[in-house]
């Protein structure tokens, strides 16, 4: 690898300099125009908010809206390796792509609904363990104890490690011959497990890794929620003779709900869309560990079915969108935002 010298830094800055300069100048031009139009010409009292929001809105439009638009267009094409540069765009092709998503294997053998079912299972298992593990640790940390700061730091550690690095480290630990997990199992007198080749254990390995990675986030969120609950509630409950479980059920859980609901929604969305863990842990590329996003990646970039994959992505998006809408309606999670 090339050493990080002054020359390398200057050269690197030169390579991205054009884009950075363009972005800065573009943002500046946008602000000036907005100021002149809204502030001077229209005398709008919302000039400043619009000026502050505009760069982010343009950035989001370019980085999110445009790619989504491109994806929708792609879903109506027959783009594949044979039709890589010249492909046809038609409504009929779009309908055909959608039909394939539900009737043909999205990978080599796995069809859409088994993969969707696995994704739901993956999400449910992970989020349940994230919440239970995070809650347990947060309850333990939410009491006076010696070395609490140190424990908190250590427990947040998995969150601080870049996910890809943590997952690759875990993958190494699941190696049949040399991995820590099998070495420990053998020391305990148990049989080593085929973590890479056995479909069930490979899925379990992905879950274990993701649970390890996800607990700190929930712990931090729940701990914050716990610390905001006034001690007076518990003191009153103790006077009334409430047991610890009754206090947890009637005080802690309801008071945590405003914090827990958005955290669970985020957890579900992140886990449903988690790519790194199931993709990297699945070293043998078993279809039985693939969830929707990894199957989508394989369909597009390993099997080169670009048009089909775009339709597949649309369907996956709609499922997640429907879930989010229903969940938000049922729990009223976003009431605080619009009320």
């Amino acid at each position: 690898m090339e050493a990080l010298t002054g020359e390398v830094i200057v050269r690197s800055l030169g390579q991205v300099g054009g884009m950075v300069a363009f972005t800065l100048l573009g943002a500046l031009a946008l602000e000036v125009i907005l100021y002149l139009v809204l502030g001077r010409l229209l005398k709008s009292r919302y000039t400043l908010p619009y000026m502050l929001l505009a760069p982010a809105a343009v950035g989001l439009a370019l980085l999110v809206v445009y790619p989504i638009g491109y994806e929708v267009r792609l879903a109506f094409t027959n783009m594949s390796l044979r039709h890589f540069r010249e492909y046809t765009l038609s409504l009929a092709q779009g309908i055909e792509n959608l039909r394939w998503v539900f009737t043909e294997p999205v990978l080599k053998q796995a069809k859409f609904f088994p993969v969707l079912g696995r994704t739901v299972l993956w999400t449910a298992v992970n989020v349940v363990f994230h919440v239970l593990g995070g809650m347990a640790l947060a309850l333990l940390l939410n009491r006076p104890m010696r070395g609490r700061g140190l424990y908190r730091t250590l427990l947040v550690f998995p969150w601080a490690i870049p996910q890809v690095i943590a997952v690759l480290a875990w993958r190494g630990e699941f190696h049949y011959e040399y991995g820590f997990v099998n070495v420990m199992l053998q020391r305990l007198g148990l049989q080593p497990i085929q973590w890479y080749a056995n479909p069930l254990w490979n899925f379990a390995a992905a879950c274990i890794t993701n649970i390890w990675l996800g607990i700190p986030f929930m712990m931090v969120i729940i701990l914050g929620g716990l610390q905001s609950i006034s001690r007076e509630f518990y003191e009153a409950a103790e006077i009334d003779g409430a047991s610890a479980w009754q206090q947890f059920r009637s005080i802690t859980l309801p008071m945590l709900q405003p914090v827990l609901t958005p955290a669970v929604i985020l957890g579900v969305i992140w886990t449903f869309n988690n790519f790194n863990v199931p993709f990297l842990i699945n070293r043998n590329e078993l279809e039985t560990t693939d969830i929707l996003v990894t199957a989508l990646f394989r369909a597009a970039f390993e099997y080169n079915r670009y048009g089909f994959s775009a339709a597949f992505a649309m369907v996956s998006f709609l499922f997640l969108f429907a879930f989010a809408v229903v969940y938000i309606r049922v729990t009223g999670a976003l009431k605080g935002v619009y009320e």
Binding site: F22, I33, P105, F301
Partner: protein, 435 residues
């Protein structure tokens, strides 16, 4: 109202300008885009430049599939070439493996920013030609200096799509003479000796159980082929494939001479650590094993299949340079200079010495360096019974169809019969989807 309309109009113009600007920086005059200073072969007259300019530096990106010693050799070649050619800079990028290289190159080509050169295997020509993302090399190089079989492996649609670097790229049986004096001649002997050598964390044989590249030699040994005579119709659901899958299953569960789980790196490490007596691996690994085992490294054919009396037939091909679509001008000239440098007799023999690979250059093949080397002799002996690897795009479908099913049989989650049937249906569906 007028004010609002005017305001919206101005905002639209600004947004449009921003969007068009974000499509990418304005094209810079590169050596490729600039009119060549003076090229005798150019038919179009070039307008004279108002003032003579020194030739601008040319930078090329080369993606390589190599690792370990071969990657070191790649780096040394690039450094030597860059030092001798001040106007040219080759930047070497190592890709994780051949599959990652293929996928990334397709994606980069789709995004319009592929690397200029690839150092890769022949079967990538199939998808790359279908996608129209590489250039043919006919007319750019004197291809008559290369071995015919090496050129044949990258011929498609009547054109040659790669410049050969090495010849072979085939699997063979490598063994540790400290653990086993001679390579087993047939599979009965392989199982018998393997059983003796397996136990206590040691194994008789190791190989990459995740890739069907390791399945096809055995399929050949059972007299099977992945395509019908037309070269594009998959023939995966055959008695030969079922027998092959059953054989691999027996190797793992009955004879138990291979590890319960082993990918490329796992097999490689076990062999290098002396925990595996034999490994089936390719010519790309010879130099690293030679470094570890020295004279204890033995090379031979993959044992004959006792049931059929046939030698397993590993795929043979080679390693090639491929050029990205649209490469022209000074960049093309620089790429040609680098490729000719690597394909020179000196560098080809250097490869033989360092990497123990068979050269693709005819005049280098006659060198005593090859005839006198027992490792290369063993490698060449295996290549004799090999079979050329298909380059057609349909082979991509076969690889993708075979991989999960081979793994399912080895994980004991599918019978060979079901796996063979599933392979066939997946390959057919894939070929249908290509259209």
């Amino acid at each position: 109202m007028k004010k609002i309309v005017w305001a919206l109009l101005v905002l639209s113009v600004v947004t449009a300008l921003l969007v068009s600007g974000c499509a990418g920086p304005a094209p810079q005059p590169t050596p490729t885009a600039a009119p060549p200073a003076a090229k005798p072969e150019e038919a179009t007259p070039v307008p004279p430049a108002p003032t003579p300019k020194p030739p601008e530096a040319v930078k090329l990106i080369l993606w390589t599939k190599e690792g370990e010693e071969a990657l070191d050799w790649n780096k040394a070649l690039v450094e030597e070439f860059n030092a001798a050619n001040p106007g040219i800079t080759i930047e070497l990028v190592k890709k994780e493996n051949v599959e990652v290289l293929r996928e990334d190159f397709q994606t980069a080509s789709l995004a319009g920013s592929p690397p200029e050169m690839l150092w890769t295997v022949n079967d990538h020509a199939g998808p790359f030609v279908a996608a129209d993302i590489i250039e043919p090399v006919d007319g750019l190089f004197d291809l008559s200096v290369f071995v015919d079989s090496a050129l044949a492996a990258v011929k498609l649609e009547g054109k040659t799509w790669g410049v050969p670097i090495s010849n072979g790229n085939h699997l063979m049986l490598l063994y540790n003479k400290k653990l086993i004096a001679e390579a087993p001649k047939d599979t009965d002997e392989l199982f018998a000796k393997g059983k003796e050598l397996t136990g206590g964390g040691n194994y008789g044989l190791v190989w990459n159980q995740t890739e069907p590249f390791w399945l096809v030699p055995w399929l050949g040994g059972f007299k099977g082929k992945v395509f019908a005579d037309d070269g594009v119709t998959p023939t995966l659901n055959t008695p030969e494939m079922i027998a092959t899958l059953q054989f691999l299953h027996d190797m793992k569960y009955d004879a138990q001479i291979i590890p319960p789980e082993s990918d490329y790196d796992g097999a490689d490490t076990l062999f290098k650590e002396g925990k595996a007596a034999m490994i089936i691996n390719g010519d790309w690994s010879l130099s690293s094993y030679k470094d570890v085992l020295g004279d204890d490294l033995g090379v031979g054919r993959i044992p004959m299949v006792s049931a059929t009396g046939e030698w397993p037939k590993p795929y043979t091909s080679g390693v090639y340079f491929m050029l990205a679509k649209g490469l022209s001008g000074d960049k093309l000239e620089a790429a040609k200079a680098f490729i000719n440098f690597v394909a020179s007799r000196d560098k080809q023999l250097e490869m033989v010495r360092l990497l123990k690979r068979l050269p693709a250059l005819k005049e280098a093949l006659d060198d005593p360096l090859i005839a006198d080397d027992p490792i290369l002799k063993g490698s060449a002996d295996q290549m004799v019974v090999g079979t050329p690897m298909p380059t057609v795009l349909e082979m991509r479908c076969n690889w993708d169809a075979m991989k999960p099913e081979m793994q399912a049989v080895l994980a004991d989650t599918k019978t060979p019969e079901d796996a063979a049937a599933a392979m066939q249906s997946a390959a057919e569906a894939c070929i249908k989807a290509l259209e």
